[in-house]
């Protein structure tokens, strides 16, 4: 196989054109998959850090080893509210990540659409043509 200048040039053209076609495919396959993996990694780490499993398993085990009645009651309340709080925080974070993923999915399409609509001024109430 000889590598002539022509081959190289052909490669650039073909490669670039091909990548344009590959772009949407990648974005909605591998790209999405990678973002989802990243989000999953973050959420799993956060789950681990919050220790939901640990806390749920030990829900009725009194905190600080206070095995008296008062201790138990306070502990259950504490655990309940801390769990609620952590859950809310986690949920919010997950929501944020979801928005991020949605943004990722929508961005190229939106960008293209808005670019085109701006270009042809379609569906525009007032236009500012300078």
């Amino acid at each position: 196989m000889s590598r002539t200048a022509g081959f190289y040039f052909k490669f650039i053209v073909v490669d670039t054109a091909g990548s344009l076609l590959r772009f949407p495919v990648w974005w909605y396959n591998e790209g999405l998959f990678q973002i989802l993996k990243w989000v999953k990694q973050k959420l799993v780490y956060r789950l681990r850090a919050y220790g939901f499993g640990i806390w749920l398993r030990n829900f009725f085990v009194p905190m600080y080893g206070q095995y008296d009645l008062a201790g138990r009651v306070v502990s259950i309340f504490m655990r309940f509210f801390v769990l609620i709080g952590r859950f809310i925080a986690f949920f919010t974070e997950a929501l944020g990540y979801t928005l991020l993923v949605l943004l990722f999915a929508a961005l190229p399409v939106l960008a293209l659409l808005f670019f085109l609509s701006n270009l042809f001024q379609v569906g525009v109430p007032t236009s500012y043509v300078s």
Partner: protein
Amino acid sequence: MLADLSFRACAVCGGDPRASARCSACKGAGITLASPDGPLVWAPVIEDGFFGFRSFRTKANAIIHLFLAVCVFILLATAGYLYAFDTRVPSLLMAHFWVSGHPSAMLAWFAVFIGCFLVFRLSAYSDQVKALPTWGKTEMQIHAWEATVSTRTSPHDVSIYFRPAAWHVIESAYTLAKRANMLEIAPIHLFGAALASSSGGIFLTRLGLDFEKIREPLSKLVHEGETGNPTSLSLEGKKILLASYMGAREARRKAVGSMEIFLSAFEADERIQDILDAAGYSAKQVRHVSEWIRLQEGLKEQHDRFVALAALKPSTVMNRSMTARQTPILDQFSEDLTQLARRGYVAPLIGRDQEMQELLRAIESGRRSVVLVGETGVGKNALIEGLARRMVEEDVPKELFDRRLVSVSVAQLVAAGDPALASQRLLQLLQEISVSGNIILVIEGLEALAGAGSGGPLDVAETLASELDKGYFIMIGTTTPENWTKHLERRSLGSRLVRVNILELSEDDAILVLMGKSGFIEYQNKVFFSYSAIEKAATLAGRYLREVKLPESAIGILSEAAVLVRREKGEEVLVEGEDIARIIHEKTNIPVEAVSREETDKLLNLEDRLHKRVIGQQEAITAVAQALRRARAEIREEHRPIANFLFLGPTGVGKTELAKALAAEYFGQENMMIRLDMSEYQNPDSVARMIGQPNDARGGLLTEAVRKQPFTIVLLDELEKAHPDILTLFLQVMDDGRLTDGVGRTIDFSNVVLIATSNAGSQFIQDEVRDGASIERIKTGLLEKELRGIFRPEFLNRFDAVIVFKPLTMDEVIQIAWLMLNQISKRLEEKGISFRAEDEAVEELARDGFDPVYGARPLRRVIQDRVENALADVLLRQQVGRKDTIILEPGSKLQIQKYSA
């Protein structure tokens, strides 16, 4: 190893490098490797133009990406410009601006679109290294992963896991093969390229190999094989790259690096192994040094992961489920190993996989408590610290999950000196632990709690046992085998503990541990260790420093050597094997360095030098000198003394004198020997005096002496007088090179020259000599008849040489007399006085000083009486001064010749 891997060639092209490049079935892979990660292939077709194209592609990508980035920038800049200079434009914050059709909005959106495209290109078109699928996973996670991929049928390309450094090696290998006009890239090319990499450079330095030594033979090998065009990756080469992947996987590395290729190439081609062997480096050494470099790279990789995991753990005594209680008293007397590990103060454990598994299993099965039994220095503490690290990584069974590993300091507990107070404290401790519920207790030196401590009798073993029974906590204790047997085994505490034996590491395993620890010592002292230093430290410490076991003994030696070399030669210097040998020599007085020039001369001329002190007895001198030469040339058996000699002969003929001469000539000083008079050991209880009373740590006379000075002469005078039990003792010494003293320590006799003298059979010898019999006949007669009743045959058998000392002839006695007078002459020379003796005078002295029964011993007294006394008189009366000469005349008269100018 390469041989263990199962490769399958493509059915269509058969794996041939050139055919497979064009093969539609395997698409260039050629061969497939079956692995726990599924079928693996090396997909990139390495042949002419591959690397040129690769670098072109990288450059092209870079240009395109740069172009896109510039585009985005320009678009945004233009948009911004247009926006800023248009007064009628609504604010950015108004939603309808973005759909208004204003050019700036249009350009901005286009920029965003291009930006997305750029992101896509950067992610999809970069040559990023992927981490191995087994990286960073716990044992269980790896098993889960393997289960998932076991059904995978489509082959997976391993080239994505190769680091840039590894790709560089492949490229260099290609260039090497191409320049040599070879048809295929063979293992040798990969090896050569890896050797030229920076890791390869470190390899050469550590191994101590000068590249010039192997340049020629390697170069020759490079040019062997078929020549031709185009150059492509051989089948062997593909196997090596796949094996490199497996190697990285096995060592739990993050990606495949240049050392993996190096090692696989080395293993693949025996001719490469032969070349290095010829240069003086065995395959084992090469493997070890490669392991060393990989180990250090691996430790760096693990560090980052560990830090990330450690951040998840709480930094207080509370556990993650917050169920624990405060333990103030415990905290006072202990240190929290998991906290230390979390903060990075605990080094990673190297090796000891089996012992760790045993430990975890013992705890898992029924929540039993464990005792680690092993000699001092084998690494019990290291194992526990390794457990602490695993607990931080949470790679442990659920009994250990989310718990603290706390080590109680027994010394602090008993510091008050009052055993009652100490037990009280301990009970409080155990209480706190039971209630807390998340503590794994570690007690080092468990015997101290069972009455063995030196701080007074503290015996809380029963209490501890009953607390353990309640099952509220798990304990891990450590102790030595001796203490286990003596204080713990038979007690109730012992029966509740699962015993895990920690044996001393083999030399190879110790070398691995040293390689892991070497990094820290190197960093502290700013020196570098050569491989020979590590190897020697493990070998010599294992052989000669028996008080503490491997690996700790060797680690200590490395530290000392590092400090020594840094002091002597400055920083950034290599510590060689000889430096280690020097330290061992200082500690044990055993010459372990390579034999130097002067020592060679000394050894080869030993007979002559011995003759200067001992007259006659040719055979004896030769035998002794030969034994020493054998010892230093290291071709003797290791588990025996250097030599066992039995000197037989009448009294006063030079037996003891030869031993003294040997001590002076070879060991440096006349009294560098341990001399035992067997006539003092005639009773049965003499054995105890020799090896020490049972349980008496002071040891015995002989064992302590040899323990402190392992390289020495042991002279046993008048052996026939010893009690038979003593002779049995020496039977063991001569055979095994070891003695166990009263306390149970093993004393190493393998660097001892054992010389026993005896007057037994001297009458027989004298008679035979008078009859003119040969030495051989005398010896046979002694061994078969005369000595039968005195020494057991198997005892006589164990001597390397039974040497018969002949009675002295008159000539020899005269020579001895001359010797003695020479000594007097030397002493007078110090005073500036010359001394001469006339032949007749000396003969006279010899005649008077010789006694057939007592040999030449009376000669000394005769000289003393006649010569030395007279000299003393003359000197004190100042009848003689400096530069004068004294002449000894017959009749023992002294004539003074005054100095005439």
